[in-house]
């Protein structure tokens, strides 16, 4: 199937696409990923905080019903396969962006798919925190809101950065998938040329670029997480 993929002719065919379409595709993938992650964090962070603080042993216990609904919604959204979710949110996408195709339009389903995931990641970060530190803050007269804003979140920053790194690399993968139904970027190129026109060379290049992007996000995130952690002696 891949016969002649790396032949001179194939390269000749691919060259104009590599030069003309790839720079824009890389840029689209990067900004869709970053924007989607940012929105997913904006929604997911408060929800993750709520999952921990609202727990019956948390700093701001919420009614059990509220917590169950929250849990179920998050689990539901997380269990729908991304491509199906993308189709399901078409109406919402149209409402917000005005269209369901294109790079910007793919941000909506990406955010919907990612924020529950981010909420769970935030939850796990915050649960790592030593409960004695929260108790100490309570003993000093901190209110639940102060504990969240001044203790839980700031003390979890290194772990949150690590988890947001996981989120951004996952979202990058989803954004490539969104190329199948209207999304832009490297995913779209890989599918259009590789799958529909059998120009596998282009597909390989797109995949390699995706791998490189994942590597870059991951190593920047790791370094940032380590650098921000004041528990490490330096």
């Amino acid at each position: 199937m891949f016969d002649g993929t790396f032949s001179f002719e194939a390269l000749q065919d691919a060259m104009p696409i590599l030069l003309n379409e790839f720079p824009l595709a890389v840029w689209e993938t990067v900004y869709v990923t970053i924007l989607s992650t940012a929105f997913a964090i904006i929604i997911g962070l408060p929800l993750g905080v709520l999952l921990v603080a609202g727990d019956k042993n948390g700093v701001l216990p919420l009614p059990r019903g509220v917590m169950s609904v929250l849990g179920v919604v998050i689990n539901l959204l997380r269990s729908v396969p991304f491509l199906i979710l993308m189709i399901l949110v078409f109406p919402l996408t149209r409402l917000i962006v005005g269209t369901t195709v294109g790079t910007v339009a793919s941000i909506v389903p990406l955010v919907i798919a990612a924020f529950p995931f981010v909420a769970r990641l935030v939850e796990s970060s915050l649960r790592e925190l030593d409960p004695n530190i929260i108790e100490a803050a309570q003993s000093m007269g901190a209110s639940p809101f102060q504990i969240i804003m001044k203790v839980m979140i700031p003390e979890s920053v290194p772990s949150l950065i690590s988890n947001f790194t996981i989120a951004i690399t996952t979202i990058l993968g989803y954004s490539a998938m969104s190329g199948i139904i209207g999304g832009g970027g490297l995913g779209k190129i890989a599918i259009n040329y590789g799958y529909y026109r059998y120009q596998y060379l282009i597909m390989f290049v797109a995949v390699i670029l995706l791998i490189i992007l994942v590597q870059i996000f991951q190593s920047v995130g790791d370094r940032w997480a380590i650098h921000s952690d004041k528990r490490l002696k330096r």
């Binding site: 100490a136 007269g141 209110s143 290194p158």
Partner: protein, 337 residues
């Protein structure tokens, strides 16, 4: 004055009800250093957490300067907690903040402006002897230094009461000593009432004026440190005073050696060891077979097993000599000890 009246606390857990505190009644005077000692699981932490209502007692009340703390709203409680601060075994510092920012933390909570809080925090770091660590992070400090920062933080809101829950239990003896010294200075210089929770008798001996012994949620003894430890009546108190156990293991009998059990009930400790002095004074060299004694203040408690050669006459002399020293009971031990 802190009054605990008929304080009880029970927890409902998966395997039944745990009664952590049972009808605790204590009065702690303003400005004193009060010790609460007990074995692990005795309910000490629960007791101290009831004092600032981190734990709501199931029954009874906590009255601080004639105010019933249990009747306060959450908001009022938060305000009161600035006045009853706490230090912990694990220090519980914010690991992502510098020491200075840690000390600023309670001031931030209280709404003090940044510059003022910083200035105050700096003064407090000087009080605890760590002005050069202002910009270090807790991870860069030793245990003793971390506890000093925690003390500075606890003092920031100018409290009237400092609660110390096993504050020295994670520290080595020398560091423990220096932290206790600091706590005593703070008590004297700022007139802060201090409640010290510990499982170590040495801690109580070193700084406390009065002590309560807590055993399985019950206060079994209470009073001046000297008198409680001098005459431990309850089993729990004896366990704490003689943690190695005061039951003597009797070695094999040899020859015509006679054995005497010597019980010290608060005898004056002298500069010269009593048994050595006896050898000089009455010319009988007793053999110390085993001993479990300790000094509390300047008094000796515990018991000792002596082997004495020389028959009835020598035994009588020894008994006579030791009993004259006061607060000592001597009895002869037969084979069936």
């Amino acid at each position: 004055m802190i009054e605990l009246k008929h304080l009880s606390k029970s927890f409902v857990t998966a395997d039944g009800k745990v009664e952590a505190l049972k009808d605790v009644n204590l009065t702690i005077r303003n400005g004193e250093i009060y010790g609460i000692i007990g074995m692990s699981g005795a309910g000490k932490s629960t007791l101290v957490r009831c004092i600032n209502m981190l734990e709501r007692p199931t029954e009874g009340s906590v009255i601080i300067d004639d105010r019933d703390i249990g009747a306060l709203s959450e908001n009022e409680l938060r305000r009161i907690r600035r006045n009853i601060t706490m230090i912990f075994q694990g220090f519980n510092l914010l690991m992502q903040r510098t020491c200075l920012k840690n000390v600023c933390f309670p001031l931030e909570l209280a709404g003090m402006n940044r510059a003022e809080a910083k200035k105050k925090a700096m003064e407090l770091l000087e009080t605890v002897g760590l002005p050069d660590k202002a910009n270090s992070y807790p991870a860069q400090l030793s245990g003793g230094q971390k506890q000093r920062v925690a003390i500075a933080r606890a003092l920031a809101t100018e409290p009237e009461v400092l609660l110390c829950d096993e504050a020295t239990s994670a520290l080595d003896p020398k560091t423990t000593h220096s932290i206790l010294k600091l706590i005593r200075e703070i008590n004297r210089n700022f007139g802060i009432t201090v409640i010290i929770i510990t499982h170590q008798m040495s801690v109580i001996e070193e700084v406390c004026e009065r002590v309560a012994i807590l055993d399985e949620g019950v206060v079994v003894e209470e009073g001046e440190v000297g008198s409680v430890f001098a005459n431990p009546r309850s089993a729990a108190a004896r366990r704490l005073v003689f943690p190695e156990g005061n039951e003597i293991i009797v070695p094999e009998e040899s020859g015509d050696e006679r054995r005497l059990r010597v019980v010290f009930n608060g005898a004056e400790a002298t500069t010269k060891p009593l048994i050595t002095q006896m050898a000089v004074d009455v010319g009988i060299a007793a053999n110390i077979l085993s001993a479990s004694t300790r000094c509390i203040g300047d008094k000796v408690f515990g018991n000792m097993l002596l082997g004495v050669d020389g028959g009835e006459e020598a035994v009588a002399k020894v008994c006579d000599y030791l009993q004259k020293a006061g607060e000592i009971v001597v009895e002869e031990v037969k084979n069936d000890v």
